[in-house]
Amino acid sequence: MSTGYQLKMRVWRGDADSGALGDYAVEVSEGEVVLDALHRLQATQAGDLAIRWNCKAGKCGSCSAEINGKPRLLCMTRLSDFDPAETITVTPMRAFPVIRDLVTDVSYNYEKARELPGVELGPRDADGKRRMMQVDVERGQEFRKCIECFLCQDTCHVVRDHDDNKPAFAGPRFFLRYAELDMHPLDIRDRRDTARDAAGIGLCNITKCCTEVCPEGIKITDNAIIPMKERVADRKHDPLVWLGNKIGLRNKDNDGRTAT
């Protein structure tokens, strides 16, 4: 492994109005990640370089940006993945409006979170505890590994290339959340209508780009979106469900859940 060298970097600098790539050379050493290089830039050459980060351990999902055009976490991208002679280009996430330099306005995601009907469990067992089997919580646990880095949101072409889709499309991170709640062993709410109408799960055409960028390795498309799409579709086409809803009856397809 190589030790210290001068890394050539191009970093996007600017704000909502205008900006450009700036060229820098910065000293880096063995074992470092892209965020280390940017921090050294900040400390020595560009004191006001805006970067969003917290944990520097891949746990908080703050430091999302694009490295050579690929959506990635700055703190989990090792310099040893690149040739020392290569210039590394760092730009802000493309799907969200820029605030300054590498920091974007991710409020879209917080808005979508608010539109989602939260968890609703029935009462606890008689002894005041709840019982769920490990196998039954594991599906949900996979989805709850999500660190809300929003890289999947950034990469999904439905919003990346069509900003005007945003109002009608919650994006992969929130399809994950719909699936998680739907698979929660004790949740009693039916979110299939909301997933279809407000969240626009139908706009997803299962390209799996979101799964590819997820730093937590969550199988977003296969394990969450596809099963969720199936449930939504079942509900839409089954006349019995429709009848059940009309006359206020519960039926098998409703799994004992109440509609929202």
């Binding site: 704000d15 050493s29 063995e30 074992g31 470092e32 990640v33 280390d36 900040q42 400390a43 020595t44 004191g47 006001d48 370089l49 805006a50 970067i51 969003r52 980060w53 917290n54 944990c55 520097k56 351990a57 891949g58 746990k59 908080c60 999902g61 703050s62 989990m76 090792r78 605030i99 300054r100 330099d101 920091v103 306005d105 991710v106 409020s107 917080y110 808005e111 979170a113 608010r114 939260g118 968890v119 469990l121 606890r124 005041g128 505890k129 709840r130 019982r131 769920m132 089997m133 490990q134 919580v137 949900g140 646990q141 709850r144 590994k145 999500c146 660190i147 809300e148 929660h184 949740d187």
Partner: protein, 622 residues
Amino acid sequence: MSTMGSRHPMTGNEMSGEAPGGIERRQYDVVVIGAGGSGLRAAIAAHEAGANVAVVCKSLLGKAHTVMAEGGAAAAMGNLYPEDNWQVHFRDTMRGGKMLNNWRMAQLHAQEAPERVMELEDWGALFDRTADGLISQRDFGGHRYARLAHIGDRTGLEMIRTLQQRLVALGIDVFMECTVTDLLLSRSEAGDNAIAGAFAYWRESGRFIVFDAPSVVLATGGFGKAWKVTSNSWEYTGDGHALALRAGATLINMEFVQFHPTGMVWPPSVKGLLVTESVRGDGGILKNSEGKRFMFDHIPEYFRKETAESIEEADRWYDDKKNNRRPPELLPRDEVARAINAEIKAGRGSPHGGVFLDIASRRTPEFIRKRLPSMYHQFKELADVDITAEPMEIGPTCHYAMGGIEVDPETELSVVPGLYAVGECSGGMHGSNRLGGNSLSDLIVFGRRAGDAAASYAAGLASRPQISDDDVAAAQASALAPFEVEGAENPYTIQQDLQQAMNDLVGIIREGAELERALEEVDRLKERAARMSVEGNRQYNPGWHLAIDLRNMLLVGECVAKAALAREESRGGHTRNDHPGPNPEWGSKNLVLRLNAEGTGVDMTEQAIPAMPDELKKFFEE
């Protein structure tokens, strides 16, 4: 003159008032500063008690330090060991803190933690399960029984997400990337000040905002970023500690800083990053360069009766806790950290200056990947080490602040009316050393109590306290001061020098002469900080933000060094080379710090610790 700008309902990501110099103003009953586990829990409680609540945080919602917590939340639910109950948990906590804990806080904590954890489950948390479907519990250092509710090794993420989702469902206002730089007081002629609000800036725009609120809950976390090798993030600059001091509140236990025994030591860029205690809880052992399981050589008298004597007994314990005693790897953190430090000093360290933590030779790869997924990931991605095949290299890292704002155990009220403190920025609960897992449960137990108390105080006031224009102008001038200086030193260099000094002089093993030097160094750094300058403008400017945080770090650094110099004994997270061993006289008193009259530093006094009632004392008779 105040103008209201339009603000995004959830993120606040919009410019404040348009008028030049206009300061945005918001009115609330309760303002919670901090969106970690304790702040979110306090906000939920205050909202449920009927208050109009805002949460203000430096980062985005969901990114607070709590998200990094790995191992679990300690709660004597008795799901695996029916023998476990609050009394045992209380005893473990007090002994772990070497009896310096506020006994009432330790008692409330042990009594209320189970219900607070189950409440998280009501709100959607998916804990790992026992075979009969209950919340599973894991072993951790210093806990008599397996007691930590957990989700793999990402318990903090689950806690923060659950509380965040609850907060959103309740529609509580959140001001994200908004940093509080001063607390505002209403001043009476008689000199009895009370909280009237808080002054903050938006990171995004650099513009200012004033919160009018009779109750403020500080939930700002710790201050580990003042040390070079730390598991803490950039947010841990002791803001709440410093805000409280400047508002007239007192700090206790400041000399006690927890160095976690196991931080990564290589590569340099991740030095200090935490390796969860669960590795040891799940069977991992510590070895030196000679391959020796050295913890057996470092069992202190105080814990000898409850610690295994032989490797055979220690190994049997994982499956049969009734008939065997715990492995010495699971002694409280201060003991293990000191032992590792001693091995390294004796020349028995690993190639990169740590010791070896080995789980690979003890458990199957499947077990390790299942129980410790994020540790597996962290070493693989950041150090090219496969922990299922080779040992990790680890060493002590600055981890947790036992010291914090002195509060009333029942309500978390500080000595300033209207000012509450919870979580890592409060003091008392953990005494001289915190047990692993006792922080996450502390957050939710006292978060709820503080939220309740803050709401009822606000509701009971006859009139709302008033903020003076002069105080707002002063807060503004102080925040902008770093822009007034040109061509001086940048804050990054001063921060690095502080981190180095704290690491070298106020580290895991301390000495009188070094602590004196640390205090001199802090004084010099304070002078340099008074003249530092920042480049650029006010919009999302990290250099400026650091300049503001640095003042807090310096004040807190002074508190730690001062109290550490005064306490001439070794106890928990405070070890003095020149005063080895605990001294019973010191065991009965706290050191209390408050801002000095000039506002330039801190004064210190001694204070007796509250006496424990006899019915609790009996748990400690042997």
